[in-house]
Symmetry: D2
Subunit: 339 residues, 4 copies
């Protein structure tokens, strides 16, 4: 069988690099086009020398027509507000698009414009875009032509909360205390921090104001059929890879550990990348993987809980999930190239 | 002026080692006796070779009579349940005692016995013990003969909350999401974890069940004149030193940033080791110091906040605070040997 | 095509764990038997919870007869002196054996006994064992029934030196200053070091006395047809994975950079896992890979050089190389499952 | 007694920051002037917020006249080629100057110009400058008006070799394989490396070509009364602080461990910051200290050795040594403020 031909537009960011890494090992997909908006043409293994011996592909200046011509599926690993410049053309050409930016995640363009400071330029496709969280929207993903790949923090928070909200257990505001490796900020952003500012450090930033809040709230609202208030406090930690969210919820009625456990198991029984832990997850166990590990503990009175979820921010939180979506869209085994 | 003569009983734990390090540089105190309950007599610089060139003291098998004879102030850096075996004798001999274990922190012996699994053996002195948090109890510390030096997590949490509770701003339960370096577990405990289990890792443990909960709740209750409910979720992080607590509170009435800032400033204006930050604290800025850095942000509606506090768990959270207490007890400058 | 059935004896050490990880992703091999000499039977994903969702295999108490019965190739990831107790039986049963211990690496049993403190118990098979360094002995590996998989330090040193010795360029003693991640010491050994002894640390150990010296010297002697004297100084560093050797050599005659570069290229032109770098290798670029990266610089007079080589100690230095050997023995693509 | 008034010119580099940190704790020196060539005037504790609560000093745009007016001793923590613009004026004004750049380290201006690419502008003072390595030149330091504070790598290498060269034991070329924390590159340089390039990494740079080679060779030559050839291969490691040099030497005649040990002890018996170790030094034991730890091992034939030395690159390798020089120049206890 011929392999699916894939392009990665924005191949030199952290996420793009991870996409290339995963796709080079994929048995049913073939990377045929790597592009950057800023660099001159050069062997990819020269830009990232650790790819030497793994690929002879060049990374080329982004030529959207060429990209459309030679590939079947295109991953847009571009900055927010840039993806929506390219997606319409690709969709018109009948291509499948998996967008890793925020451009197609928020159905409400007013909210988008508030957080990303530009008007949305592609409202037509925005309506059709599917939020690519396979654990929740697998059916929609299967038929989608445009995937809005979830943000890293939202992945860790939504997967921890969705079943409990869907079941109507939770009431009141939800607190998410999320710790992320610095790579979540992107390759350009982290050059602002010299090594000595990150090593042995940890700090809160953008408390209550992070752009991922509306993304999470809109998905959680669809689960619970009413507005959900999220207090989100992101933090930078030194760990090499990952996001670890500790999430605090209150319950309408007293619950038992068994009830919560059963709920998770029911919702995620066909989800190969969600692992419900006996105890709390460990960040290191999801590093380098596409898994989301979840654990929880109830307060003695059964009226509140802490839920912890752990992912690799660049894999399950970005590139891995994008490939998982590709697998589903192409009718491949969901786990292909990801275990 | 003659220097105050100090003994460190339990000089080979992480806290004991840090005490020795601080006291060797102290201009008005002289370490005269280092003791361990388990090791044979040996030069301290042989047990911890990095002390070579700094001290010729031996570390001796603990002889409580000798300890009392040659020292004025004794630091008990002993395991919980062991301190209360030695403190009564020392107090009877008229010595000042600074106990870094939990033995004299909880006035309620029922609670003590619940968490530490033994009956309290020294209820007489327990009543007289002063909780050694100088930012709150400086007057009492000044006159104390027995100090119960606060726990590391409690220090980070209480300092962040005390002024706001004292002012009556906070209502409802409080969540403390605290991240600690592994050294908080003590030297013996961390040998259970090989290096590879700690590096690049982070995990929740003892959620809602940690033994520091009643310590925090009892002090906070004294601030607010009513019971305070703490949901405490400790976590291990890889950082070399420190505790970073992010604390979530709700307010009775809408507050402003200015009001909260003024409250902290008023309470801590004479506290040289509390720094109120413009932004959020950074873990690294308190590492190796006796400072507690505090920062906060309000939700848009002014009805809730996240407060972050950062300390070095072995210094402000243990040995440094103990020396701060010694300074106050001896009438020295509070910051002596600690800046 | 049926997959080759493989067993991993000693599946719970660092190397055994890495073998399982690699083999679970291998498209032409199937792990059918995991065994430990010390643990009770238990799901492998329970012993190492990060394998949850990846395998349902049990790890069983080592039963050598069962192992032989159900597998075609057996990896012995056992301590030195233990492998040679099991290998003879497996060979007699016609199985292929890849031994990751030192038991079959040293042809000279006097030297073996000097370093490993026991008499060699299987001199018959020792003679037939092939030193499994595919870059040098690919032909022999192809036909081998018993592979002595190279040590981690030797891999990094031999690959850097072999072509230059074979060409007769080098004279005089050779210095290898090698830095290794602590995992090289094995899972049991590293529990002797608490986290705080390893973090931010670096130290020399076993200078000139490491057991890998005779292994390196014997292979280098076969390259140069005369005795080679190695001064080997291993060091522990904090890095998560890898060995980085800086090697100092003198040349008989003045050489040029081009001459050295050409020599490496000629020798390694068919070696998919050796990468000759333009500049010096970086430890991180080989972490998590089966590559050995090599770089060098000459002194101004062209009479001496520093050569640096970088590998992942558990992959190219152990498990990855073992699978590379398996690939060759089975007639698979050499890189299968390793890129 | 009045405190000595000190100025730090270049207070915002890594070395300048460390100088401020040490001098703020010094009991006989008072920092009165902090200056930067590039920043606007601002509270030092605002530029480096971790100094909050420790100093109210401003950091001002460098005004050399003001600096001279209000201080007795000036530390020039300026880039190479900049120090020599300011030193002449200060010396003319009768001030004592401790220069931490390379400007006054190399007596041979031809060599200086080769490595630093500019003509030397102050040959008059260059002749009078004393190389500030107190372990070797304490007498000269005591009387000096201009100190050329040693480089970090040279400190680690020279202290390891000086006694053995002075005794005439060593012959042939010397190899120094030195690993340094990234901070050695300076605050500006390390911003070129994002965090992800440094973490878990290690690499060789400037092999045989580093600008510290002539500095080491010239001091070693003065010890041995003949030219010494150094092959120097610096490497970046992830450790937070420190340089660890492993140095390879050959001996003219067979030596014993006792002989080498006695030689070190004799030379360093009055040197409070050199510690001869029983075994090899550990990088972590010198981190945060002004010590240089030294250990060694001989080859079996007693004809060669590896010597390892460990320092904190910013302390003993820069700011700490500078303060040690100040102590000597002012007649203070050599260790004041440094233990």
């Amino acid at each position: 069988m011929d392999k699916v031909k894939v392009a990665i537009l924005g191949a030199t960011g952290f996420t793009g690099e991870k996409l290339v890494e995963i796709l080079l090992k994929h048995s049913k997909a073939q990377a045929v086009y790597l592009a950057s908006r800023i660099l001159e043409s050069a062997p990819y293994a020269q830009i990232f020398t650790h790819f030497s011996g793994k690929t002879n592909l060049n990374c080329e200046p982004l030529d959207i027509e060429k990209a459309a011509q030679i590939s079947d599926i295109l991953f847009l690993s571009l900055p927010h507000t840039v993806s929506m410049e390219f997606a319409p053309y690709l969709l018109k050409k009948g291509k499948k698009v998996i967008d890793l930016s925020a451009d197609y995640r928020l159905k409400d363009t007013v909210v988008y414009e508030k957080y990303y400071k530009v008007s949305h330029k592609d409202k037509v496709n925005l309506k059709k875009a599917v939020y690519g969280m396979p654990e929740i929207y697998k059916k929609e993903v299967k038929k989608a032509r445009l995937i809005a790949n979830p943000g890293c923090y939202p992945t860790s928070i939504i997967l921890a909360l969705y079943p409990l909200l869907k079941q109507g257990f939770i009431e009141g505001k939800i607190i998410a205390d999320s710790k992320s490796a610095i790579t979540g900020a992107g390759r350009n952003a982290i050059t602002k921090y010299p090594y000595t500012d990150i090593s042995d450090n940890l700090w809160v930033y953008k408390a209550f104001k992070h752009q991922h809040v509306p993304e999470v709230e809109s998905i959680l609202k669809s689960a619970s059929n009413k507005a959900v208030k999220l207090l989100f406090v992101p933090q930078v930690i030194e760990a090499k890879a990952g996001i670890y969210s500790t999430i605090y919820v209150s319950f309408k009625n007293k619950v038992t550990e068994e009830k919560i456990r059963n709920t998770y198991e029911k919702y995620y029984k066909n989800c190969p990348f969600v692992r419900l832990k006996e105890d709390f997850p460990k960040l290191k166990e999801t590093a380098g993987t596409n898994f989301c590990d979840i654990g929880f503990a109830l307060t003695e009175d059964g009226k509140a809980a802490v839920i912890a979820s752990s992912i690799d921010n660049l894999i399950k939180g970005a590139a891995g999930c994008a490939v998982q979506n590709m697998n589903i869209m192409c009718g491949f085994e969901e786990t292909l190239g990801l275990l």
